[in-house]
Symmetry: C2
Subunit: 388 residues, 2 copies
């Protein structure tokens, strides 16, 4: 009996609090009831954005809900707004930046407002051993990293849940009273041991989708879909609001392999925004899971496998947007002309350049944080609003 | 089988959201694990208060937790503070004022700070059909009634949960993450259909018990005990705080009989603070459950029963503090000398005098509301505090 039960263990798990195993993204589209972003929709996006962002072109953003309705509203000059977030559970790695980089690109192309929720409350109730001050330190560091991405300081509002709570508490309650325990139990796997703070939190995550009387588009990793599927889209219309649209990304594979996602508890799985050049080099050389052969001789003869190679995957997803150059790397690796160490070096250089620019931008953005949070045009408007 | 189950139906129910049946207060003391306020403790109170308030003397406040520890701390000059509240689900009746009147007396006698929580959030999530504006209207009216009681404007902080949330949200989360669903399920009877707003709320009700680094004494009706028993006293010490003490009242019996408590949904069960003199007279004459006989002749011969007579009960609990006068009423009613209409008239006069004074005080207190909520000494201090 036990063996039969064991054999039913899912091959992968995707929840807001756990991603493990080899994720089957086609199955997620089916299970979650989202839609694949097909060629037609990508072309329609391109009509408005001229170029296509590498994250869209290479289908890292692969799934959506109602992206077509967003484009309808945009085309009919009704507009829309963007909403994404960050849970400040620790320092940020490159994977954390991906949805934010994409959100920034969307803002540039569509000229719309962006709301970025820093879920300090959720991280505090989820990690029961953490001190509040610790979460706040991470929140402030994360906000500095987000500010570095280059959002429009007058069209972007970055807020900590704990600071903005007073302005939205009645709205949060309005959402919360529509959500029964049975819903969060089945949606999030909450049980008798779940604390009542974590149980209340899904109401807050729905709040920003109602910030404007327009459609809301949420760029996020697919593990967050349950918040929209089971909470926001279930209650929105009953409360006189609109269902949120979403555009979902895959997970940047951890350095150590193509399963699961990068993890704060295993430093070697990720490249952190604070990693210096040497650390990046050592980490990628040592840990990046390779699709190459065991010896140089064998590699020259048999070639490498880009499907398995994490360095190649990272180049493909984000760091080598040029199709021709990527094709060349691909072909050279498969032919054995490009060795694993050489392939890794290409990524090392790309990442170190990216991080150098990020550090410079972060420094420059220090004085912008206040605009994003309090004194920019949108931020000021938001602090004067109260949502019921 | 069904009959057997039916026969187990409890004779009375006491929860924060329901009081029904003939309440057995001795059983509550046993079930809840509180202590009776005995003669010794009453005498010890009297040492500090000179006179004894009628609500204490006549044992309407009948039960406690750690009231002895409060007196220890007071006697050792460590001090304590008072905390009570009001759920703004509608207009207030006389029964709602009782714990507040007693709290005011304690403040006068011990010279301590009082915190009064207006639980607009809880009432909004509990009454799912209510508009936020409606709850706010009741909250503001209730606050005006509470201000009329005569609290010290520099030692009293009246706050709406929705307004003070930002100052306490981290502390609320700290409490919430210590409380599992299993706890609120067994403590409050929450189930699959309970909304996640109501489920989170018990964390807020515990917050004010940690406002000062002193013992907190909570005057409240006994139905609120579960908040202290199952939540506050369970988590306090683990969070580095002190367990709250409490002093519990019975329920002012509804006009219509000695079972349950006064109910907003049955206007005839209560005397509302807005009832005019004629309404009070009509209501008491028509609805006050009588311990008298069916005819005057019979009453003269057999006498009335004060145990059953609600008018007499109200006089005894609050409106006739003079022992001698109450004794005379008692004896005259039992002998048949005092008729039911005459007994009721005594209560009508007392209540109309009380309400007249209340209305005058409420008018005078209008300008004090701002002090209690924002600009008084304690209120100002509280708005500058943030609790983690």
């Amino acid at each position: 009996m036990e063996e039969i039960i064991d054999s039913k263990k899912p091959e992968f798990v995707v929840t807001p609090w756990e991603v493990s195993g080899k994720v089957d993204y086609d199955k997620l589209i089916k299970d979650f009831g989202t839609k694949r972003i097909d060629d037609g929709l990508r072309e329609r996006m391109k009509m408005h954005t001229e170029k296509m962002h590498v994250l869209l072109k290479r289908q890292f953003f692969f799934s959506h809900r109602d992206l077509d309705l967003i484009l309808n509203d945009y085309e009919q000059k009704k507009g829309f707004f963007l909403y994404t977030g960050r849970g400040p559970s620790g320092p940020m790695h490159i994977g954390h930046l991906v949805p934010l980089i994409f959100t920034k690109w969307l803002q540039d192309k569509f000229g719309v407002n962006v709301y970025i929720e820093i879920t300090d409350d959720e991280k505090y109730v989820f990690k029961r051993e953490r001190e509040w001050k610790e979460i706040q330190k991470f929140a402030n560091e994360n906000i500095a990293d987000i500010a570095a991405i280059g959002f429009d300081p007058n069209k972007t509002f970055i807020f900590k849940d704990s600071e903005y709570i007073k302005n939205v508490y009645p709205l949060m309650l309005k959402i919360a009273r529509k959500i029964n325990y049975s819903t969060v139990k089945s949606a999030f796997g909450f049980n008798e041991q779940t604390n009542i703070g974590l149980m209340f939190y899904p109401a807050y995550q729905a709040v920003p989708t109602f910030f404007e009387n327009k459609l809301c588009l949420i760029p996020c990793a697919i593990d967050q879909d349950v918040f929209w599927r089971s909470v926001q889209r279930e209650v929105a219309e009953g409360l006189g609001f609109k269902k949120a649209a979403a555009i979902h990304s895959k997970f940047l594979p951890p350095l150590t392999g193509t399963e699961g996602k990068m993890s704060a508890s295993q430093a070697e799985t990720a490249v952190w925004l604070t990693d210096d050049e040497k650390t990046v080099r050592n980490k990628i050389m040592k840990y990046a899971f390779s699709g190459g052969q065991a010896t140089t001789e064998e590699h020259r003869r048999l070639g490498g496998d880009t499907e398995k190679d994490v360095a190649y995957q990272w180049l493909s997803i984000l760091f080598e947007p040029d199709n021709k150059k990527l094709r060349q790397i691909h072909d050279n690796y498969h032919s054995g002309k490009l060795l694993t160490g050489e392939l890794k070096q290409i990524l090392v250089d790309k990442i170190n350049l990216f991080l150098k620019e990020h550090r410079e931008n972060r420094k420059k953005a220090e004085k912008l944080v206040d605009k994003f949070m309090y004194s920019g045009k949108l931020a000021k408007e938001m602090w004067n609003k109260n949502y019921e």
